[in-house]
Amino acid sequence: MSYLKSGRPPRAAGLGSRQDLLFSWLALPAAAILALLLGALLILAFGASPITGYHALITGAFSGTYALTSTAVKAVPLLLVGLGICIAFRANMLNIGGEGQIAMGGLAGTATALAVPGLPAVILVPLVLLAGAVGGGIWGAIPGAFKAYFNVNEILSTIMLNLVAVQFMNYLLSGPLVAHSGYAVGGLIPQTRLLSPNSWLPTLIAGTQLHLGVLIAVLLAVAVYVLLWRTSLGFRIRAVGLSREASRYAGMSVRPTMTLAMTLAGALSGVAGAMLVTGSISHRMVTDGTLTGFTGNAGFNGIVVALFAGLQPLWTIVTAFLFAGLLVGGTSMQVVTGVPADLVTAINGIIVVLVVSVEYLRRRARARARAAAAAGPGARDAPASGQADATGIAEKEVPA
């Protein structure tokens, strides 16, 4: 894949020592394996066999058409949120608002499908997805603009907007959008009317859940790759992420670029929200009053997926599929061993912590390799190269 050609993270570009490359290739799988081993300990603690558990997990996720298609469908929101993270993070912004953006996209898509149910499918399906993008995009634009123009910490504003979104969702689904015909599950869970079949995402393989959304998400991944590395906007986004001051000095419009990066991130999450409704089995929006109930935690897991892909859009396709496998397989594991599927969430958490922890060791290995290289011609250069590397590290830090 393109990872080697041009896909290396820009911060590491130009440093390419072989040792560093090897380490960065080994570090992430090592982190995943370590996390799975810790998960195995937890399974053992519950008196089940980790081998049986993980076997059930892998079979449930990847064995057979049904499992594979379920995993692919589950991967869609993870991939879309992850793509948004790739964009926003490269502009040096951490978007933790995926959950809220998914919900707002879902609401906007649902409202559109309910408002104009009569439109033919060729128009309504894209329209609903577009509405989702707009809903999520607005929810990303707000923290983006606040960060760009008023220097408001985007981590906090996105968290707050998640809280606003969940209340807004509950308001709409217990009032304006609720189906008066009844509630799901014995009148406890509010839901909308059944959406017009013209808004449903068409199924790609009969008898499975595999819908058009999977294809769209993969195409969007390619589009994000092209955007980031083949367009001037992508260049601006990456430049702003590396140094706002330098970009401003170079005459780039820093603030609009930052706002746009977050808007795009929100829009991608919003599309995921719309797909969660029109690609679902029930074809309506259902809420249990929590964001997770609708998003399945995709807003957070998408961060894991993007991070694990090294913020590479094309690699995000792979990691989204793998992590979706964990989620789908976790349910099978629960059935076989009785260990609750939420174990997968805990393992995801461990993976995140490990990935960011090895990042420092990777940087240090890189610095050492460069110091050694510089020490060759003249030992006096070594501290100087250390200095240069230190600036590289300082530049890497995201102001929280």
Partner: protein
Amino acid sequence: MSQFFTTAVLVATVAAGVQLATPFLLAALGETMGQRSGVVNLGVDGIMLLGAFGAYYVAAKTGNLVLAAATGLGIGVVMGLLTAFVSVTLKAEQGISGIGVFLFGLGLTNVLLLRVFPSPVTIAALPAVPIPLLHRIPYIGPMFFTQNWLVYLAFLLVPVLTFVLNRTTYGMKIRAVGENPAAADTVGVSVARIRYSTVIIGCALAGLAGATLLLQIGIFQEDITNSEGFIAVALVYFGAWRPLGVMGGSLLYGMVGAVVVTWKTLGIIPTSESDIAAMAPAVLTVVALLSVARRYRQPAALGKPYERGA
């Protein structure tokens, strides 16, 4: 509306608001300590969840509520060691590692809840401890001085931490490390040691906040914190890194929460509208973040791992 303005209802609402504010306050005060020394801990919510579950387990098995609260605190200390190791020693990206801790806490407590308590039990309520004399003051007494001991502890921490941060050598070192770690290092202050201490204090208070939340609710539910830990982090910014400001923000959240519950119970507003009302604190916080970002400066080294010679 008129029912709401009877004194009995108002007093009860304020008292409930103070109680609801307590977990926010404990967690946010802890986070303040860490942030003043330059460390952002976004894992507060996960640590609160773990603390709450630990407290639930101990309370359900022993019935000893003090031991339950201490368990929450202890779990916080352990998580604090881990967080400090990742953030300070391994110099990890703090925003992201915190998300990892959150996911870990969320997943693990759900797993444990389903396995250890297939049918959850309710634990004994925290008894109110009226403060002698003060609780007799009309209105004020029932509002503020007839609370449980964790409430008193949390609010007592406000002046204590203000004093520690502004008037002690330790506090000065914390601020120095948060503003200019290189300078602090030069004069012999161990940046790592100070940051370890503040992160552990912060996480211990987060664990205690989770325990407090649990003991006040009386039963553990999936995702019991409902993002309270994340809100607590925002409240630190809201309060401009000062314990008193943090207290103001916590009380705002507590009061709005109490008012919305009272309104719902009294049927003043229908459920759907109460969802809109419940947005108020989050919207207010975003607005407050706007003005704080303009008026106050965050600790200069916030979120930046320190590397000697860098």
